[in-house]
C-alpha cells in the first residue's frame, strides 16, 4: 500500500474500497430466525426491555470512565466492556420494538421513554464511580456481581423459545465471560494488593451488596414467560458460588445480605428507580429530544 495515495483516497469519500474499514457495523444477528414465539407479545416485549435496559444503562455508567481510568489499558478495557453491553442493548431493544409492533426502533426506546418505563435493575443504574458514589473498586465490585449474574442468566437464555433472545444470549456469553474475568481479576488484585485497596474494594462490595436481592427476585412477566424467559430465582446458588470463590481468592469476606427495601414492593423491573437514574436519563436523552425529527 502506498501511503502517499492516502491523500487522494481521502478526497473521494464515497469509494468504500479506499478505506481500511467500512463505516457501518455488521448486522450481528444476520440469518437468525426472527419469528415471534407463541406467547403474550406485551410480556415478551417487556422482557426484552428488561434485558436491554440492564445492558444499556450499565453501558452508559461504564462509559463515564472514558479518559478517567487508572491506566490506559483500563480505559481501553472499560470502553470495550461498555461497547459490548451497548451492542447487546441495541439487539434487545430492537427485538422489543419488533415484538411490540408499534413501530418503535432502538432509538425510540432508548431516547423517548420516561423513567417509569425503564425496566433495568437498580444495580445497573447506581453510581459506582468515577463520580460520586464510588471509585474504581466499587466499579469492579458492581461489574463482578452484574456480569456473574448476567452470565448465569444468558447461559440459560440460550435455550429460550425466542430465537432472537437465544442468539443474543449465545453471542453475549463470550463477552460476559470476559467481563466477569476482568472484574474478578481486579477484585482479587485490589483485595490482595495494599491496605488501602483492600479497604476500598471492601467498601465497594458493601455499596453494591444491598442490590443483589433484586437480581434474584422474579417479576410476574418473567414467571409468565416460562420457556422464553429465565426465572432469576434459579440463578442464586450459581452466582453465590462464583462470588464466594472470587472473594476467597481476594481475601475478602462476603458482606451481610441485607437487601435494600423496595418501594411498595416495587423496584427496577417495575419501573421504580433510584434518584440517580433520572439524571442519567436526562443526560443521555436530552440531545435526541432537543431536535425532534433530526437524522443521526
Amino acid at each position: 500500500m502506498s501511503f502517499d495515495n492516502a491523500y487522494e483516497s481521502l478526497i473521494d469519500g464515497h469509494e468504500d474500497a479506499h478505506w481500511a474499514f467500512g463505516t457501518g457495523f455488521a448486522e450481528p444477528l444476520a440469518g437468525v430466525d426472527r419469528e415471534v414465539p407463541d406467547v403474550d407479545r406485551a410480556d415478551l416485549a417487556a422482557y426484552c426491555l428488561m434485558l436491554g435496559d440492564d445492558a444499556l444503562v450499565l453501558s452508559q455508567r461504564l462509559a463515564e470512565w472514558c479518559s478517567r481510568a487508572p491506566e490506559l489499558e483500563e480505559d481501553v478495557a472499560l470502553a470495550n466492556i461498555a461497547l459490548d453491553l451497548l451492542g447487546q442493548a441495541r439487539m434487545l431493544l430492537t427485538r422489543a420494538g419488533e415484538v411490540e409492533g408499534a413501530g418503535r426502533d432502538e432509538d425510540a426506546l432508548a431516547y423517548l421513554r420516561d423513567e417509569r418505563d425503564f425496566r433495568n435493575v437498580h444495580l445497573a443504574e447506581i453510581e459506582c464511580g468515577p463520580f460520586a458514589g464510588g471509585d474504581f473498586g466499587t466499579t469492579m465490585a458492581r461489574l463482578l456481581v452484574f456480569s456473574s449474574w448476567k452470565l448465569a442468566q444468558y447461559s440459560r437464555l440460550r435455550a429460550s423459545a425466542d430465537p432472537v433472545l437465544a442468539a443474543v444470549a449465545a453471542k453475549g456469553l463470550k463477552e460476559l465471560a470476559y467481563h466477569r474475568d476482568h472484574a474478578a481479576q481486579w477484585v482479587v488484585r485490589l483485595g490482595d494488593g495494599t491496605e488501602e485497596s483492600h479497604r476500598r474494594v471492601r467498601a465497594g462490595l458493601e455499596r453494591v451488596w444491598p442490590f443483589l436481592a433484586e437480581l434474584f427476585t422474579p417479576h410476574a412477566v418473567e414467571l409468565r414467560l416460562a420457556g422464553v424467559a429465565v426465572d432469576p430465582a434459579e440463578l442464586r446458588s450459581e452466582v453465590d458460588g462464583v462470588l464466594d470463590e472470587v472473594l476467597a481468592a481476594a481475601g475478602l469476606t462476603r458482606p451481610a445480605d441485607v437487601p435494600a427495601a423496595r418501594v411498595n414492593g416495587l423496584a427496577g423491573r417495575d419501573g421504580v428507580h433510584t434518584e440517580a437514574f433520572g439524571y442519567l436519563l436526562a443526560e443521555m436523552q436530552h440531545l435526541h429530544r432537543s431536535l425532534p425529527g433530526a437524522k443521526w
Binding site: 501511503f3 492516502a6 491523500y7 483516497s9 481521502l10 478526497i11 469519500g13 478505506w19 481500511a20 474499514f21 463505516t23 457495523f25 444499556l56 452508559q60 462509559a63 463515564e64 472514558c66 479518559s67 478517567r68 487508572p70 491506566e71 490506559l72 489499558e73 483500563e74 480505559d75 481501553v76 470502553a79 470495550n80 461497547l83 451497548l86 451492542g87 442493548a89 441495541r90 431493544l93 432502538e106 432509538d107 432508548a110 431516547y111 468515577p130 474504581f136 473498586g137 482479587v188 488484585r189 485490589l190 490482595d192 494488593g193 495494599t194 488501602e196 485497596s197 476500598r200 443526560e283 443521555m284 436530552h286 440531545l287 435526541h288 431536535l291 425529527g293 433530526a294 437524522k295 443521526w296
Partner: protein, 310 residues
C-alpha cells in the same frame, strides 16, 4: 566507518533505524519528544470527544464515538511503547504531561460545543492529523513508522465516520445544517493551525527533515490539506469561513488566508480555552488511579514471592 557516518548513510538510503542501532543523542531526544507529544495528543484528545459519549443522539452514534475514543487510548499506548524502545518511561512522560513540561496538539485545547463537533473533528481535525501523519509511515525510526501505519489506517476510518455523520446531519433538519456550519466555522482555522507555524518561523523543521523524522514542511502539508478539503466541503454543502479561499490555476493549488497566529501562540502558550481543564482532568485521572496501580504492583510482587520467582 564510524557509527555516525553509518547512521547518516542508513537514513540517507531511506532505511530504517531500529532500537538497538547506534543513533545520535539529538536524534533520540527529538524522537522521544515528538512521539511523546503525539502520544499525549491522543490521550488528551480523548477528552473533547469523550465529552459527548453520554449524550450521543443515537445508539449507533454512541457506539461509533465510544469505539473511536477507545482507539485513541490504543494509539496512545502504541506510541508510548515506541518511546520506550528509545529508553523513555511512560510514567515519566505522563509526569511531564501533567506538569505542563511536555506539550500535546493545541487543537485539543478548543472546546466541543455541539454534536456536529464530533463530526467536524473527525473530518477536519483527523483529516489534518492524517496529512501530518501519512508521511510518518516512512519516517526513519522503525518502531515509530510501524506504529504510524496502524494509526493512519484507524484515523482514516475515523475521518470517514466523521464525514459520514456530517453528511447525515446535512440531510436532516435546518437546525442540524446550521449546527454543522457553525461547527465548521469554529474548527476551520484551528485545523489549519495544526500544521504548525509558517515554515519561516518553525524552529524544528530543518534538522528533522535532514534526519527524515519529518518529511514535509508545515506549509507544504497545510496546502495539501486545503486542497484535499475544499472539494469535500463542496460535496457536503458547507462554506469554509475564509474569504480569500480560491483556486489558483497558475499554482495548481488553492490560495487561502492565514489563521490568527497570535491566537495560535496564546493557545500553545497555555492560555487556550481549555488548556487548564484538559491538564487538570488528566492529572485527576492519574492521581485518582494511583492507589489502583499501587495495588496491582503490590499484588504482582506478592504473587511473585508466593510463586517463588521473585
Amino acid at each position: 566507518m564510524d557509527l555516525e557516518a553509518q547512521f547518516e548513510r542508513t537514513v540517507a538510503a531511506e532505511q530504517r533505524v531500529e532500537p538497538r542501532d547506534w543513533m545520535p543523542d539529538g536524534y533520540r531526544k527529538t524522537l522521544i519528544r515528538q512521539i511523546a507529544q503525539h502520544a499525549h495528543s491522543e490521550i488528551i484528545g480523548m477528552q473533547p470527544e469523550g465529552n459527548w459519549i453520554s449524550r450521543a443522539p443515537s445508539l449507533r452514534r454512541k457506539a461509533i464515538l465510544l469505539a473511536k475514543v477507545q482507539d485513541e487510548a490504543g494509539h496512545g499506548l502504541y506510541l508510548y511503547a515506541a518511546t520506550e524502545t528509545l529508553g523513555a518511561d511512560r510514567g515519566e512522560l505522563t509526569e511531564k504531561l501533567i506538569s505542563g513540561r511536555q506539550k500535546y496538539s493545541s487543537i485539543f485545547n478548543y472546546p466541543t460545543l455541539s454534536y456536529a463537533d464530533v463530526g467536524v473533528i473527525g473530518w477536519l481535525v483527523d483529516g489534518a492529523a492524517i496529512c501530518n501523519q501519512v508521511p510518518l509511515c516512512r519516517t526513519s525510526y522503525g518502531p515509530y513508522a510501524r506504529a504510524m501505519i496502524r494509526i493512519c489506517k484507524e484515523e482514516s476510518f475515523h475521518q470517514r465516520q466523521g464525514y459520514e455523520l456530517l453528511m447525515t446531519m446535512m440531510s436532516g433538519t435546518d437546525a442540524q445544517r446550521a449546527m454543522v456550519q457553525e461547527s465548521v466555522n469554529r474548527w476551520w482555522w484551528p485545523s489549519l493551525m495544526m500544521f504548525g507555524p509558517p515554515d519561516a518561523e518553525s524552529s524544528n523543521t530543518e534538522q528533522s527533515m535532514k534526519w527524515r523524522i519529518k518529511r514535509n514542511t508545515n506549509d507544504e502539508l497545510r496546502q495539501k490539506f486545503v486542497d484535499m478539503t475544499v472539494p469535500q466541503a463542496r460535496k457536503l454543502g458547507v462554506t469554509l469561513p475564509d474569504p480569500e479561499l480560491r483556486w489558483n490555476p497558475e499554482r495548481g493549488h488553492h490560495d487561502f488566508g492565514q489563521p490568527d497566529w497570535d491566537e495560535f501562540w496564546q493557545v500553545v502558550g497555555g492560555n487556550g480555552p481549555t488548556n487548564a481543564q484538559r491538564i487538570a482532568h488528566r492529572r485527576k485521572a492519574h492521581e485518582d488511579g494511583e492507589w489502583v496501580r499501587a495495588a496491582a504492583a503490590a499484588h504482582a510482587a506478592k504473587h511473585a514471592v508466593r510463586e517463588g520467582v521473585a
